[in-house]
């Protein structure tokens, strides 16, 4: 790579972009005017809105079933409130009619007064206030009524006490005063910290995405890409030059955003003057946030660059950017959620880590070690994404991608090829939705029964139907082939080491993302022998998934995906298999087992081998959970429900020997048997 060339490309892209009106508007002008406008607009609108609400007439319907002196007194006091208009409709009272009126907002509240006697003979007024929490006006009516009634209650009580000659001050046993000790900076930090990460992340991405889509997809669209590809510049030089351009513009955007935000905040507080005291905005924190933003910016830029490289034109690039933007928004919103504190696990999840860290920085309450973990882990992701970008830029399939329009129709008389990536992906998405809604509700009703139905009807049946309808030969498509019996012996040997390795992975994930006890209990229940007995549990949790899930994944999905390369197929199938468990904590162990099962399917060219392996994994898990404490050998490995970590070494050695064994018994990998 030649630095001089990179600079040439960088300078040209910068010149080109700075002359682009869209860039100037989204990256430079918008941040400068957005915050002052937002601040002015919001503060004036809020005060006006509040005033308007305060002055609005609120219509209240009343149903007084008691109708005596005291109840009249209550109502009288309510009607003293200026904005309340009380309609006494006791005579033609019909609750449902008034609830309808409340719902269509013709009235703001409905009060019903009844009375009863306490066990000691005192009279109690039971007042029910119907209101609509989602309506501001209705909520305000409720608050006014509530506050007013509390006041009346005090009066009533003191009257009662007077009758029996007791001073009403006896009631003031405890008095609560609130004194907020948070300094104003921290209050501001608390409020700003909640929405700042969210705002900054959206602004960064939306600014960078306009530029990124233009830089490569835009060049494809305008036909200039070929001219630079045939020039003497290397492709990595082109990618890096463009990458630096996106980063530069994004940094400028973020800087302008922060500066504009800072100034408009300062302005607002200076206007508020005395009420907030004369304190300094935490400018050091803004600088720290900027430092934190840098790796995030480089990461976004790299992802956006990859998207742009992959897309055929700007429009396509923009539609691929949407999921990224949505995902980023969702993840950045964790700073709104209470109870989310930065820990080791969260500090490894991109965006979530920034969002939480920024909130902590604004609160002046952050831990330096997490700051380094976040920056470090993001930079690692960064390098990977830039590498992918360069790879994509070298791939002619990507650079000269033609329209991919493919019909999903496969009904008809002739044999149709359902073994293609697109069909399988659509099928998988439909299945995972079905699993979530239909399978989930079956299992909620009756766990065991639901599992059986899920396996047979949702996992096995659709595959068989697809293969029948598409007139595919099921036996050869699913590879129901004869295989060397010694393969089964090898699977048997590998079963325990694999289960332990997967278990250890689960333990490590648990360590990084501690999950709740109730979740672990639910998981445990699944593989605990229920009252139906051991053999039934083994059948439901071991045999059925062994057959049904293998037919779906290693039979159908892998057959389609392996066409693009054996390892590509095995790994993608394993990822889908992991995702199919609908549980982020089980994803990695499941995907790990998926790779092993895929390897078995490809290596032995027979689905029976992964079926046995899958059955063994699940069944062994049941046996170990329920009977490990009775076996002295297992006691050595599992202590306090934790697998000892030294197990990794012998397990890997056994696994290695088993893999060697497979290579001896199955020397040839047969590819694409159906062709």
């Amino acid at each position: 790579m030649n630095l001089k060339k990179i600079i040439v490309i960088y300078k040209k892209e910068m010149l080109d972009l700075v002359r682009d009106r869209r860039t100037i508007i989204t990256s430079f002008i918008l941040p400068i005017i957005l915050y002052p406008l937002l601040m002015i607009g919001l503060s004036s609108m809020m005060s006006r809105q509040e005033m308007k609400l305060e002055q609005q007439q609120l219509v209240i319907y009343l149903n007084d079933t008691v109708y005596d002196e005291t109840s009249r007194e209550l109502i009288e006091s309510l009607s003293q409130i200026e904005t309340l208009q009380i309609m006494d409709e006791a005579i033609v009272y019909n609750e449902s009619t008034y609830l309808d009126l409340l719902q269509d907002k013709s009235i703001q509240a409905l009060i019903s007064i009844e009375d009863s006697l306490s066990s000691t003979g005192y009279r109690i007024f039971n007042i029910t206030c119907f209101y609509d929490e989602t309506s501001e006006k209705s909520s305000m009516a409720y608050r006014k009524i509530r506050d007013n009634l509390h006041e009346i209650e005090k009066v009533l009580i003191s009257k009662r006490l007077e009758k029996i000659k007791i001073n009403s001050e006896i009631l003031n046993a405890v008095e609560i005063k609130k004194e907020n000790i948070a300094p104003p900076e921290q209050m501001v930090g608390f409020l700003v910290g909640k929405f700042l990460p969210y705002l900054l992340i959206i602004l960064t991405i939306s600014g960078a995405s306009v530029i990124a889509s233009d830089l490569i997809a835009g060049e494809k669209e305008r036909g200039t890409l070929e001219t630079i590809l045939v020039s003497a510049a290397r492709r990595d030089e082109l990618v890096i030059g463009k990458y630096l351009t996106i980063i530069t513009i994004s940094i400028i955007t973020v800087l302008l955003n922060l500066l504009s935000m800072y100034l408009s905040f300062r302005h607002i507080f200076m206007q508020l003057g005395t009420s907030m005291g004369d304190f300094q905005l935490p400018i050091g924190n803004f600088a720290l946030i900027l430092l934190l933003m840098l790796p995030l910016i480089t990461l976004f830029s790299a992802i956006l660059l990859s998207i742009s490289t992959y897309s055929r034109n700007i429009k396509e690039a923009q539609s691929y950017q949407m999921p990224l933007l949505f995902g980023a928004i969702m993840l950045s919103m964790v700073s709104f959620l209470p109870g989310f504190e930065l820990n080791l696990g969260f500090s490894l999840i991109p965006i979530v880590n920034f969002s939480l860290m920024m909130r902590d920085i604004m609160l002046n309450n952050y831990q330096l070690n997490y700051l380094f973990i976040i920056i470090g882990s993001t930079l690692v992701l960064d390098v990977i994404t830039v590498y992918i970008s360069i790879k994509l830029f070298h791939s002619e399939n990507v650079l000269f991608r033609t329209a991919e329009e493919k019909s999903l129709k496969f009904w008809g008389k002739s044999k149709k090829d359902v073994f293609n990536l697109q069909f399988v992906m659509v099928y998988f998405v439909i299945m995972i939705i079905a699993l979530y809604y239909i399978g989930g509700s079956w299992q909620l009703k009756d766990m065991m029964n639901g599992l059986i139905k899920t396996q047979l009807l949702l996992i096995l049946l659709p595959v068989i139907m697809i293969l029948r309808i598409s007139k595919t030969d099921i036996k050869s498509a699913l590879r129901l082939n004869y295989t060397n019996p010694l393969n089964f012996v090898l699977v048997l040997i590998a079963a325990l080491p694999l289960l332990l390795l997967a278990g250890i992975m689960g333990q490590l994930i648990n360590y990084v993302f501690p999950v709740s006890e109730s979740y672990l209990e639910a998981m445990q229940n699944l593989i605990t022998v229920q009252d139906k007995g051991l053999w039934f549990t083994v059948f439901v949790v071991g045999v059925l998934p062994g057959i049904c899930e293998e037919v779906m994944f290693r039979g159908f999905i892998l057959s389609a995906l392996r066409k693009k390369g054996l390892w590509y197929g095995i790994i993608l199938t394993a990822v889908l298999f992991g995702a199919f468990h609908l549980d982020p904590f089980r994803f990695i162990p499941a995907a790990f087992l998926g790779i092993w099962l895929g390897y078995l399917a490809v290596k032995t060219n027979s689905l029976f081998v992964p079926i046995l392996a899958h059955f063994l994994q699940n069944s062994l898990a049941i046996l170990i959970t329920n009977y490990a404490e009775n076996v002295s050998f297992m006691k050595l490995i599992i202590k306090d429900e934790m697998i000892a970590y030294w197990v990794v070494i012998p397990a890997l050695i056994i696994l290695y020997l088993v893999i060697k064994g497979f290579s001896i018994f199955n020397p040839v990998v047969i590819e694409n048997i159906e062709e």
Binding site: K12, E226, T227, V230, A232, A233, E396, F400, D417
Partner: protein
């Protein structure tokens, strides 16, 4: 010069079948010679030229350009090559001068010589009036001149033109053709692709007819005429197509 040996490019289609876009293409183009790749749309001309400009990688076969191998030394291949096609674009927000300067730098033209080179180009192509205007404000003809200038700014010994006259009016197209003649006079090796028979006849020293990725015939028009006994160019082309395909074209 260009030496092409058994160049083949296979694309994997969506239905999993292989498409031979270029199938066993061999020819040579000498210094000071204009070689025309002649074929209908979809014959494989663009794919062949993209391979020669190292944008696409050949599936099998080799080619050298000024002695540099396509796959082993793509950097030097591109440095010795000027590439112009009918559908390449320009950066609308840059001026003509900025555009040409950018490419001069990408092609490692020494900074001290760039100004002189641009003046030479402007003299040759009559571009002085609009050198400092933004591309957005130029007419098609002017843009085409900028494209030519950017493709030849590094004075490459080999020029590849991929259907450069497609969609141009007669006057602009004529500019290009006369520019190609100028290249030949300067002793450059020129490879030119077109689907227009007359255009091929007018400028070619040698014609390589390709159809469905395969070479139908190569030689001069005179060779073809004596070979087939026909005189009309279209007839000659159809004759060769039929000779490999049966009579279904």
């Amino acid at each position: 010069m260009i030496i092409v040996n058994n160049l083949t490019k296979v694309f994997q289609q969506q239905n999993g079948e292989d498409l031979y876009a270029v199938n066993d293409l061999s020819f040579t183009a000498e210094k000071g010679e204009i070689v025309v790749l002649l074929g209908v749309n979809g014959a494989g001309k663009t794919t062949a030229m993209r391979m020669l400009s190292t944008v696409l990688q050949p599936t099998t076969g080799t080619a050298t350009l000024e002695g540099y191998d396509l796959e082993k030394d793509p950097q030097n291949v591109r440095a010795n090559l000027g590439f112009l096609s009918g559908d390449t674009g320009l950066y609308a927000r840059l001026t003509a001068r900025e555009t040409i300067t950018y490419f001069a730098r990408l092609y490692d033209v020494p900074e001290s010589k760039i100004g002189d080179r641009i003046n030479e180009m402007a003299d040759l192509l009559d571009m002085h009036d609009f050198l400092d205007k933004k591309i957005d404000f130029l007419s098609t003809g002017m843009k085409q001149k900028v494209s030519i200038a950017r493709s030849i700014i590094h004075d490459p010994p080999v020029m590849i033109f991929d259907e450069p006259t497609v969609g141009l009016d007669i006057l602009t197209a004529k500019n290009i053709i006369s520019f190609i003649h100028k290249c030949k006079e300067d002793g450059k090796c020129v490879l030119f692709s077109t689907h227009i028979m007359r255009e091929a006849e007018r400028i070619a020293d040698k014609i390589v007819m390709i159809h469905q990725g395969k070479v139908l015939a190569q030689g001069s028009w005179d060779d073809f005429k004596t070979d087939t006994g026909l005189h009309d160019l279209d007839d000659i082309f159809i004759h060769y197509v039929n000779s490999i395909n049966g009579a279904d074209v």
